[in-house]
Symmetry: D2
Subunit: 289 residues, 4 copies
């Protein structure tokens, strides 16, 4: 159904120095690609700044890891429009495309161009203080504005395209992509959105007698949140970067110019099957006391 | 911002025989349009079958009533692509565009072509028993499959594009449009979707240890629900038509070929303002014991 | 820890004619009790009116079945203060005490008096129309007032000890015991209450912009619900009896004079262990399409 | 209905130096009590350590402030069994008994002994690291274990009376009293418990595919929570004290030996009326941008 894709010629395989087995597996994949197919394939640690600079020269990135690695690779490759093939070495693997055992078959299909690209919307997040830009981030899951270490709510006046929607009084507000709808937003009670959607999802964490329903915005909508707090508050970008928010700070969020590109060999329906498997997961099963 | 629309020439004004004041107001509007503007304007009861047959000859329908009348007019006019201007004589008026007091100004703007058309996605619902089509409906809010008069759950095996999503064990399953996201689906805990979205929303009513999250489907997805029940079950279309469901019946839902067209003079941001006003409403205020 | 109980002398074993294996198992248990212990033990169908009249002459009732049978036996035995030992032949078995495989050991402990009695609060439900009593029920799980076969909300003005609490606009209102907190009320989003509590739980089903939080009442509180509806509404007692409610009908609920008595050999902590097992259950696993 | 209480002879009136009007009002109340009634009445700042040492010599404490002041006064007076009369100078005043305008009448009733004492259960919270006691707190609303400034979940293995209930993976776990059921726990989706209950309420904040239902424990149950985290985590006592939690720390919670005593002149049904008024409140109304 999906149009045939160009077979990749230049491939970089990212391993993570802390993920067991990822270095060895990266070597095996590079061998397979380089020796068997005569391709330009290299391996590199996802922690290496030098390697990241090579991304734009690649046709495809293979990532060995879990969903955290996929988020990171998605953000790194998005500006260069380089697609990412995820091989699951993690626990959940909701974003990855292949288990290690499926790798030979999946690689073979990819090298034949028998794959499709799933574009995942990202968000551009700007943190402003008075007239100054404090920081800007591209996120693939979500931006979270919320309380810091004090267990007290913050007040978050929220505008859509310049018009006030409401003031949340809550532990925090999640501004999520459809990709993020199955992450933190799900824990906060949000709906599941299809990966193809281009709409922003808003949902509060522990709202205190304030708006407690998830809201999906019209495509292209811009969000502005004004922070009212007398105690520590934070802005979190994809759960990776945490910045302090001061009273009066403003956070602007709108669709990013970039999108993550994930390589898929399974049909689009994979999403619902993975989803139901994930919903049935019991994270208490692997607790390690 | 929105392109200028053609001023309507032929207008039919629908009153409801049971809604107080709607007959008189309909007369006043027709007078204004016919006398002052020389237009072809007529009034008719929304209950009259003969009047409904004239819809296709109109450029616009004016409806005097509440959200129930808007849903009805939306369904009636959708096949003919005739837009509907709603004047609120009801309690909520979430779908209507004007209060009675605003009517002179709104009419004037509409006659000048200074309005825009909001298309609202509808759903096509087919009820099948074995190989037979039992009934088919176009809905603007939602189809509900659920328990009948016995307060016991039904089992609803749900497929998306032919692949099983899950089996809900619940009082019912709501298959809603974005318009319906602020109706029954909201009461069941669902998210608010923007009117412009073209995606189906699934949410269970009182799910019993089964999937309890709202799911928004990819645009164009087709839903099939297989009913498992040993007691009375029903299919409801927009809360207007109720059909008995038997064990083994199947209900298919996908985007309709038709869309409701609502006349708007307010900018698109009206939706969020109306929404927050609605969320703050306390329906217990007008209780009549 | 619990005081030693009197070993039962007269025991009746209830089988269900429709539950496979229950007749045979009932015979085996009676044999064991009568032959091995010289006890007065008889078996009977739970459907037999004559057998039910013998309940008051028993020291203990053994029930072979699932949670539905336990609810029924609990209601039947409560007025006679006869305890019930549940042996799980059903799917969930949340209320039963023993699996079939554990029966020899459990019976042996019970015959030695090494068990304790768990009292489960019941509710007395009165359905009144004008000044007339339409019906009265003792329930062990819950009374539900709600919509009938039309998928539209009803209005339920609710008073606590004569003072108005709120008017629910909803599919229904569940008035539950702690035992019922893990049944229908759980599906509606309610909390889990310990079996020992004597307090009533109120929770609405799909509340439409009305009170959407579970409320636990003070011990001894009396509930009165006044029904406002223009369409079919029903009163359900333990999901077994369904009565039509008319506009203006009143339903009164307070603690029953009776309590169900369940025989337990496991320590009280069994409840949380069973609960977590139950929460992890996936009812879609045994779907039969 | 309630037995007549002893009229207080020694009264201390607490004002808050930061609450406008509280100093003046305290003076007026002391005048009224001392001059008109010849009572031993003094005023003091709730911030004064010296005044707090006088609490045990009083028959009653009058507190001028909001719910925060009531919580504080409740904790201060509980060990001395001195009752607290709250006069609302705050916004919500859910725990206070009188508005300023009602003060003459309420005081008059109290001085006549025409009042009753509402005992509110408190919790004893112990924070343990290895074999060491890090801190101990008495709380009237809740203890919260949760994430610190990083927006990532913590793992909280939770035991009831020594048996494992579950491992929450969440932003936090609220261990609340019935008084706390209308505070943070309500924002997290919990049920409303009557003030007279003596049971602990557990509810997770933003649970990630883990136990998401509120659980009310049997009276007298002891809770132990073991913290698993690789990042900052905190223990909050009544939202007033925040302590850092390290990986492996344990928090024990059980009913306190102390209870807060609130003076009431309204009948017990006041609780539901106040509750519904509070639920209808829109905290966005007084936003100050």
């Amino acid at each position: 159904m999906a149009p045939r894709q160009p077979p990749p010629q230049h491939v970089m395989v990212f391993y993570h120095p802390k993920v067991e087995g990822s270095f060895t597996l990266a070597g095996e994949i590079v061998d397979r690609l380089a020796r068997a197919r005569g391709m330009a394939a290299v391996k590199a640690s996802i922690e290496e700044a030098a390697a990241r600079e090579q991304i734009s020269a690649q046709d495809m990135i293979v990532v060995l890891g879990g969903d955290g690695s996929m988020l990171r690779a998605g953000r790194l490759t998005a500006p260069h429009r380089v697609p990412v093939l995820g091989v699951n070495l993690g626990r959940l693997g909701f974003l990855t495309e292949a288990q290690v055992s499926e790798l030979p078959e999946v690689l073979s299909r990819v090298l034949d161009g028998d794959y499709w690209i799933e574009e995942r919307m990202m968000l551009h997040v700007e943190h402003r203080r008075a007239e100054q830009l404090v920081g800007a981030y591209e996120v693939l899951n979500e931006a979270v504005l919320g309380r810091g270490a004090l267990a007290r709510p913050v007040r978050l006046t929220t505008l859509i395209d310049g018009d006030e929607l409401t003031t949340y009084v809550a532990d925090g507000l999640i501004v999520a992509t459809p990709t993020g709808s199955t992450a933190y937003a799900l824990a906060a009670g949000g709906p599941i959105l299809p990966p193809t959607l281009k709409n922003i999802l808003l949902i509060a964490i522990a709202p205190h007698l304030s708006m407690d329903r998830a809201v999906v915005l019209a495509q292209g909508a811009a969000v502005e949140v004004i922070v009212h707090t007398s105690h520590q508050a934070i802005l979190s970008a994809d759960g990776q970067v945490e910045m302090l928010l001061l009273d009066g700070d403003r956070v602007h969020v709108h669709n990013s110019d970039y999108a993550a590109r994930f390589v898929r060999v399974r049909p689009p329906a994979y999403f619902y099957a993975s989803l139901m498997a994930r919903m049935a997961q019991n994270p208490t099963a692997d607790k390690n006391r």
